[in-house]
Symmetry: C2
């Protein structure tokens, strides 16, 4: 096992401990059966699968400047819980039935609480929306109740709130992208920056550095996180079409069926023949692509060089990001670990 793997594994175990403790408490604390049921479902949803990338990055961001305390580890889970807030809601917006190889939250509610009654889909979605809100409150609570000094807790919560706001803005542009005929690569990069990089990489690293209470400058760390975060999303979109759905836990056709204008899609339409472009345009609007058509979409992405373009852009961004990382102040060992972990994030198959 490499140096970074050992270190990250230990962080993951620490995060899981606090995460489980917090969610156990939330799932147990209400006297109301229904609220206990729903908070228990939030608990299961937040614990299942999940690589804990975000809280690990919080702790690495902190460890650059000082080894994290137990309070900082407790605060780090706020960003993991906020993932439930985003994912539950995202699946309602995208009408996705699965997440991480399991039913999405509102589908789980529909099955478990409403016995899959077709007339109850809408109410199951409403429960999902409220559960997503509750997760967001849990997230603030995890930060505010971690036991950090007042000034640090306040800075941490401000950053958390800012991450939520920027992510919401990214979602907004993303939701409109399917309506926007002139949605460009530059627009897409902004969605990646706001919707993914902020709450997956840059936000967690900066949050960790901030709640360390010791960081002086954050600019290079922030730039590193932004570039790596964009690369992460490009890679995620490649996995979404060319990956192995047994490993990703995500139905392989779902990105196409949801009409996502990923870089793969945009570039294939730009570089392909008019006929290929309109074929892809129809495919991402169909909502239910056939196996044959899906094979053809992938062939077009390969032939036009769109797949190569995505891969090369991700690699370039990673390379640039490392330049910034090298300029980050802080512990040299932790910088090596962050580098190892970011290579893993980009080369992962799931």
């Amino acid at each position: 096992m490499e140096e970074w793997e050992d270190y990250v594994k230990a962080l993951r175990e620490e995060v899981n401990l606090h995460l489980r403790e917090f969610l156990d408490r939330k799932a147990g604390e209400s006297q109301d059966t229904l609220i206990r049921k729903v908070s228990g479902m939030i608990r299961e949803y937040s614990l299942r699968g999940g690589k804990r990338i975000r809280p690990i990055l919080v702790l690495l961001g902190c460890d650059l400047f000082r080894h994290h305390t137990a309070e900082i580890a407790k605060a780090s889970i706020s960003i993991e819980i906020s993932q439930s807030y985003f994912l539950i809601q995202d699946d309602i917006i995208d009408q996705s039935d699965t997440r991480r190889g399991f039913p999405s939250f509102h589908i789980q509610v529909w099955r478990d609480i409403f016995n899959s009654d077709p007339s109850k889909r809408r109410i199951a979605e409403s429960v999902g929306i409220i559960a997503s809100d509750l997760s967001e409150s849990y997230s603030h609570e995890a930060m505010l109740e971690a036991g950090l000094p007042d000034d640090i807790a306040l800075k941490g919560d401000r950053l958390l709130s800012e991450i939520f706001e920027v992510t919401g803005q990214g979602e907004l542009i993303d939701v409109f992208s399917s309506e926007n005929e002139s949605f460009s690569e530059a627009d897409l990069m902004r969605v990646h920056l706001w919707k993914t990089a902020k709450y997956t990489v840059e936000g967690p690293l900066v949050l960790g550095a901030t709640i360390s209470g010791r960081a002086k400058t954050l600019q290079n760390l922030s730039r590193f996180g932004n570039l790596l975060g964009i690369a992460f999303q490009i890679q995620d979109d490649i996995l979404g079409v060319f990956g192995d759905d047994k490993k990703t836990g995500k139905p392989i056709k779902s990105d196409i069926n949801e009409g996502k204008k990923t870089l793969l899609v945009l570039k294939a339409m730009e570089l392909g023949s008019p006929e290929e472009a309109s074929f892809i345009s129809r495919a991402i609007r169909s909502g239910n692509i056939s196996d044959d058509d899906f094979t053809r979409v992938k062939a077009i992405m390969e032939r036009t060089g769109s797949l190569d373009y995505s891969r090369r852009l991700a690699a370039t961004l990673v390379k640039k990001s490392k330049d910034y990382l090298s300029r980050v102040e802080g512990d040299a060992k932790i910088k090596r670990i962050i580098e190892g972990f970011s290579d893993y994030l980009i080369n992962r198959e799931s």
Copy 2:
């Protein structure tokens, strides 16, 4: 004009000033046209109508112990902005097309951005969900950036987060109420306590007292707020059926059409004949009640004594609440003003 009216009017003006300033800033700060559009719509939505009950109660809760500073007034708007978070989402969950006599937020989006294209209702709702999230982030931001001392800001933000969590729990029980055949008066009182009293009366008063930095005990203030808040909701439900929709700005049949199990409905079903009970049960499930049936529902509520029961219960709760108010520590004049304002809240016609 009575003593309380003058005082409350001045507070309302102060709140409106800070609210407008904050929302102007948020609506102007993004470089992105789409985000500016949506945050501009949040601005309009938050400013239109609205009695500013909640921030006024924050300031009254504070003034019991010391006259509020400009920073406290800035922080008070957080709870007003959170109303946009709740109302936008509530109207999506309840599928309501109007709010305060205007189109509900997602309907406004659907009209303004999607030209009322029938195939775009769902995406307009998604935009609504995200706008509701953004309002929630704004709400935390208003608290965190108001310039309060760190320890006070932290306490305020914790309370805000707790208010959101409890309100979410109340919404959860409310959403299930239509599915719950044995939904009782006690269940309903819990919904009123959690979904209304917490974020409309008790939460704001306790928040204000807390950020005053001077309050010693909060128990009596909290009890006062809870009882008044429940009475407020009972009164709101009476207005929702027997009020003047020109004054309330709410279609008079909407509570019935949304299938709300209000106290009026529960009591009429309990006290009415089996035939009357099943008539009301069908009426609240119909989704689109006729004028004749609506008239009959109201007649049953009157004949069975359900309307009287609701009115009497509200009056009893108000009376009890005043006992607690009399025991609250703090400035005697402000206590008189709170009493005057709470009489207005219960006797209002809109």
